[in-house]
């Protein structure tokens, strides 16, 4: 389980703030300007109307650029420090190509149930997204998609395959 260190807390606050910017005006005012409703607010009938997904990730991706997938430990969505340079490379590329957009695909190994892995893959993609935002990439340029355990990179049933399957992949769109 993630230890809520200061750094991660900062990332999460950033992610939440960014997310709340995507909410339409008109949602009820909530504590500290975040998008978090308290149980009292829910009971009082607090309503969200988040915007529907943007059209990032639809159409043909740019195929002549490939980035190293970010690897994860078993059942973890934490970006380990050796993986950070891979994310820095993507951030640099996006800064050089300011019109490009990005989809981060989160994947899991086959262990655990498929429904749980769907959420874990999303958390992996979101962890990488938060890191890119921290590196200065506009949140509106990034979408995430979790494939859970449904699209393994390596078809096998041992750790050598599993470690390749626990990953976040980058797909760039013009």
């Amino acid at each position: 389980m993630l230890k809520p260190t200061f750094k991660i807390a900062t990332l999460v606050v950033l992610a939440i703030l960014t997310a709340s910017c995507r909410l339409r005006p008109g949602k009820p005012k909530t504590a500290a300007g975040t998008d978090v409703l308290t149980p009292e607010e829910i009971a009082a009938g607090g309503v969200y109307t988040p915007e529907e997904r943007s059209d990032i990730g639809i159409g043909q991706p740019i195929r002549d650029v490939q980035f190293e997938p970010v690897r994860f430990r078993f059942d973890s969505a934490k970006v380990d420090s050796p993986e950070l340079t891979k994310i820095q490379t993507v951030a640099d590329y996006l800064k050089r190509n300011p019109s490009y957009t990005l989809v981060i695909e989160g994947h899991c190994d086959e262990r655990g149930t498929a429904a749980y892995n769907m959420a874990l893959g999303e958390r992996r993609a979101q962890a990488v997204r938060a890191e890119l935002i921290r590196l200065g990439i506009d949140a509106a340029r990034i979408q995430t998609v979790s494939y859970g355990e449904e699209r393994p990179a390596s078809l096998g049933h041992s750790e050598e395959h599993w470690r390749l399957n626990r990953r976040a992949e980058f797909v760039v769109y013009p």
Binding site: M1, A15, V47, Y48, A115, Y116, M118, Q126, Q143, T144
Partner: protein, 393 residues
């Protein structure tokens, strides 16, 4: 009558005992004999008889015998679709007709009428099961009768469609599909097959579960950057969301409503491992279910208040049932296979679930009383994530 009480005693024994292994139980309960029931040797007659026999057996309450049965059934089937059944030893007689000429459905109604007359229990012959299958190379949704017949493909998303869930009136399914590249929630109207987007926000949109009154849908969404539980209230299409959880470091998924619609059981990994929690459907504090096991996931709150779920024991995912009134947990599977996605039949006795053995998935129907299971389909391809319909008209 005495026989019936002996039978009830057997049931109580089955229900109370914690079995240490799967037993293909001896046919428990009552036997019926159909040799005195007359069907013409036409294709419709054979279809009626085959369907009736299969559904009586799959009810779990009755088994077929060729002689010495407790209940000899007499009567006949006549074209286009009329059945007359009589069980003299039970003082039961009934005539059933389907004006639409649907022989298969007539057999389902006949089976349920017999089950109800002889046992006092609701049958499951008039139900269907929605599930995902990959025989086209992609996961698409399919629909079949609860006896595994009458299979039809109902999505052609050519991407990945998973986790169907029935509306309580049987008119719609909510499911997760990648048809627009990302995992979004859709409503599919049964019969017209009209497709309606329900939730397509940034990130993950999944876990759709109708409330028992059919007015709301509990969902797991990650548009804030992390999967949390929400309830979509009517009108569903406007994306009005009520947020139920707020855990920036954990994911909340797999909601399932209590039969009275007041509470929701769900999975959260906020403790470091996925476990089951319950909260009020109008929001508030969560409370953990008191379960052992390193992982407990995929809850399904049944019509009689029991919660079926998947528990990890000795490295294997097994089906278990939790009874809230006394806190008992009964583990129902004990073989080498992994099980996922249990879903109650409306009779509160049977479960449909995904069974994974030798890395292949199939859907089985598990009888919680006898702890035996049968494959739903004997059709090529892999099958998973079943959803058992309510009783259909």
């Amino acid at each position: 009558m005495r026989r019936f009480f002996v039978f009830l005693g057997c049931l109580c024994f089955f229900a109370g005992a914690v079995h240490s292994q799967i037993t293909i139980a001896k046919p428990a309960g009552m036997s019926v004999d159909l040799t005195g029931f007359v069907t013409p040797a036409s294709s419709e007659g054979l279809l009626f008889r085959r369907t009736l026999e299969k559904n009586l057996a799959r009810s779990g309450w009755l088994h077929l015998m060729a002689q010495d049965a407790s209940y000899p059934i007499t009567g006949s089937f006549a074209l286009p679709a009329t059945a007359f059944v009589e069980v003299r030893s039970a003082g039961f007689r009934r005539s059933l007709t389907r004006r639409d000429g649907d022989v298969r459905r007539l057999a389902h109604e006949t089976a349920d009428a017999l089950v109800e007359a002889l046992t006092g229990k609701k049958g499951i012959a008039r139900t269907q099961i929605a599930l995902a299958g990959n025989r086209t190379g992609q996961w698409e949704l399919y629909l079949c009768d609860a006896d595994g017949e009458n299979l039809q493909q109902i999505t052609r998303d050519r991407s990945m469609a998973l986790y169907p869930f029935w509306s309580p009136d049987g008119s719609r399914l909510v499911f997760t599909s990648y048809r627009n590249r990302f995992p979004d929630l859709y409503l599919l109207h049964i019969g017209s097959w009209k497709l309606e987007p329900l939730a397509r926000f940034n990130g993950l949109n999944t876990g759709g579960a109708f409330s028992p009154d059919g007015q709301a849908v509990a969902v797991s969404l990650s548009f804030t950057g992390n999967p949390e539980l929400y309830v979509l209230r009517p009108p569903l299409r406007d994306g009005r969301l009520f947020r139920l959880t707020q855990t920036p470091h954990a994911a909340e998924t797999s909601p399932s409503w209590s039969p009275d619609g007041n509470r929701i059981v769900f999975v959260s990994d906020s403790s470091g491992a996925p476990q089951l929690y319950i909260l009020d459907a109008r929001g508030g504090e969560r409370s953990p279910l008191p379960l052992s096991g390193t992982e407990n996931v995929s809850p399904s709150w049944g019509p009689d208040g029991r919660i079926a779920f998947v528990t990890r024991r000795a490295g294997v995912y097994r089906i278990a049932v939790y009874s809230p009134e006394n806190g008992n947990v009964q583990v129902l599977t004990n073989d080498d296979a992994n099980y996922e996605d249990p879903c109650w039949a409306p009779n509160g006795r049977h479960l449909a679930c995904t069974r994974i053995s030798d890395n292949r998935m199939t859907v089985v129907l598990l009888d919680t009383l006898t702890q035996s299971w049968v494959r739903l389909l004997e059709i090529q391809g892999e099958w998973r994530s079943p959803a058992w319909s309510p009783l259909l008209p």
